[in-house]
């Protein structure tokens, strides 16, 4: 664990890869991005009610004046939470399945794999709490995603370190884009409310904060994957495009059912 922290620290100081800026446009990437990133399991457990800077600022308003959510907004929010839970479930299972074969062959990856797994498990707990709190139905394809994700993780790990990292890269690229579009939609919702003179409550400020934090952590995993020779996987383009297409299909399906 200690070594993983020092690894991360050195990674942070070494700067970011260009792909990072491409996925997280400056508009949605606060300069303090790394500061709100939580990496220890302890703070992940309390992630259900994160109180970041934005949230505490809104809580001080004396008289709440909030607009009822439209049907479209509620549908968007429930499918967003549902697909996020499914995605984090899949990510957790991918890392669980990847770890034994991968660590067996490359023992030095053990801390990194444990670290990434812990973060994904924290995200999954966050969305489990949010889904129960907001009474959203979990995806009906839960067992299907469980089997597919475990199979994907195990399969790529058996193919080798590069393939496993290419899998991480492809999955995290899709997930990063996906979180970004959710954050963008939420911010558009906020703009609409503020233009009409309504306030944005802590519930939604916290949600955006949580999504931003999780998005940043996912993109961090993307960096790790690239540093571990994801691009060396053969055939790289086939592997990543198949996995990316699979992710998009899974996101599409989980939004619906």
């Amino acid at each position: 664990m200690f070594s993983s922290k020092s690894l991360l620290r050195s990674l942070r100081q070494s700067g970011q890869l260009p792909v990072h800026d491409f996925l997280a446009p400056a508009l949605f990437a606060p300069t303090s991005r790394r500061c709100i990133s939580t990496t220890t399991p302890k703070s992940n457990a309390s992630a259900a009610a994160p109180s970041n800077q934005e949230g505490s600022a809104a809580a001080g308003t004396p008289k709440p004046k909030r607009k009822p959510l439209t049907k479209e907004q509620r549908d968007f929010l429930s499918s967003a939470l549902r697909v996020n839970q499914a995605g984090e479930l899949a990510a957790t299972l991918i890392y669980t399945a990847q770890k034994p074969p991968l660590v067996n062959a490359h023992p030095h990856l053990r801390p990194l794999m444990s670290h990434m797994y812990e973060q994904e498990a924290g995200h999954l707990r966050t969305f489990n709490v949010l889904i129960a709190k907001h009474r959203v139905r979990p995806t009906a394809l839960y067992p299907v995603w469980s089997v597919l994700a475990s199979g994907l993780g195990w399969g790529t790990a058996v193919l080798g370190r590069e393939a496993a990292m290419a899998c991480t890269e492809a999955v995290e690229t899709e997930i990063g884009t996906h979180y970004n579009s959710q954050i963008r939609s939420l911010l558009e919702m906020f703009e609409g409310w503020e233009a009409e003179g309504y306030e944005v409550g802590p519930e939604f400020r916290d949600l955006v904060g949580t999504l931003r934090r999780i998005r940043d952590e996912e993109l961090e995993h993307l960096d790790h994957a690239l540093e571990n020779d994801a691009k060396q996987a053969k055939p790289y383009w086939l592997l990543t495009s198949v996995i990316k297409a699979g992710c998009r299909g899974a996101i599409w399906a989980s939004e619906k059912v």
Binding site: R66, L77, N104, Y142, F204
Partner: protein, 281 residues
């Protein structure tokens, strides 16, 4: 002769029309409707979305509901409600689905009444409500119960809410079982199961979310049917029936869960044995 035949033919035609249009077109309307108020994101910060009925509908339906014990879930009851609420006979047309809307009013209002009732039952301090000083350390009654116990208690409360109209409920079930009404009726049943599990404090969001709600829906529907024929004092037989069904399900779920655990354990043990032999998996 001729006029009688004609009248008969017209009536036949309109009866045929009623059934055919209902089965072909109403079902799409029902689907649209159930889609428009399906279960969705529940905000704790924002005012709730508008309810299932608007003001005029609620005025007529709530006035009509008082006539259900005497006149059943019928158009006549709706007309009486419209009259009581100060409307015209024709105003019943604002209630979109006629008698079925009256049934829905019963289902929705009794489901919505469950939340305050649950707070009353479960938030009462352990010592009893009257006289005894609330003991914060002992907690509330609800905290002493497990989730399945709270589910049983709430399901029983919901069944009891049928008490006043139970002699009319078989008619209502017949209306709800019409093909065009089935989607909306099942949707209401699903909302009830979800409400009960939510109020019981169940937080599971894995596939058991579906199995729990599906089995509770089945149990509730069969208990309700049992209740329509129950003459025992205080519907004691119905409660015994409900408890038996819930126990059966939980023991079945226990068996299924144990099998799942065993399979998982054996698989991972097998995998580890292979790994210890040097297999790169």
């Amino acid at each position: 002769m001729a006029p009688t035949t004609r009248a008969f033919a017209t009536r036949l035609a309109s009866a045929a029309a009623a059934t055919t249009t209902k089965s072909t077109t109403r079902s799409t309307a029902a689907c649209l409707r159930s889609r428009s108020n399906r279960r969705s994101y529940h905000s704790h910060d924002h005012p709730p979305p508008p309810g299932a009925f608007n003001t005029a509908e609620r005025q007529i339906l709530s006035a009509a509901y008082r006539h259900v014990p005497d006149h059943g879930f019928t158009h006549k009851t709706l007309s009486l409600g419209a009259r009581d609420a100060g409307y015209l006979d024709i105003s019943t047309n604002v209630v979109p689905e006629g008698p079925f809307s009256l049934i829905k009013y019963h289902l929705v209002s009794k489901r919505e009444a469950l939340a305050p009732r649950s707070a009353e039952i479960f938030n009462a301090p352990v010592g009893g409500a009257d006289g005894a000083t609330p003991d914060a350390a002992a907690g509330t009654r609800g905290q002493l119960l497990t989730v399945p116990e709270r589910v049983e208690r709430l399901t029983w409360e919901r069944l009891l809410a049928n008490r006043d109209i139970i002699h009319r409920w078989q008619e209502a079930l017949a209306v709800m079982a019409q093909p065009s009404r089935v989607p909306a009726s099942l949707h209401e049943l699903a909302l009830l199961s979800d409400e009960i599990y939510h109020l019981a404090g169940d937080l599971a969001v894995d596939p058991s979310w579906y199995t729990k709600r599906a089995s509770l829906s089945t149990i509730y529907a069969s208990s309700e049917l049992f209740m329509t024929n129950d003459c025992s004092a205080g519907f004691g037989d119905t409660r015994a029936f409900l408890r038996r069904r819930l126990d059966e399900t939980s023991s079945l779920a226990g068996v299924v869960g144990s099998i799942g655990q065993w399979v998982g354990f054996t698989a991972s043990a097998g995998l580890n044995v292979l790994r210890s032999k040097g297999a790169r998996i």
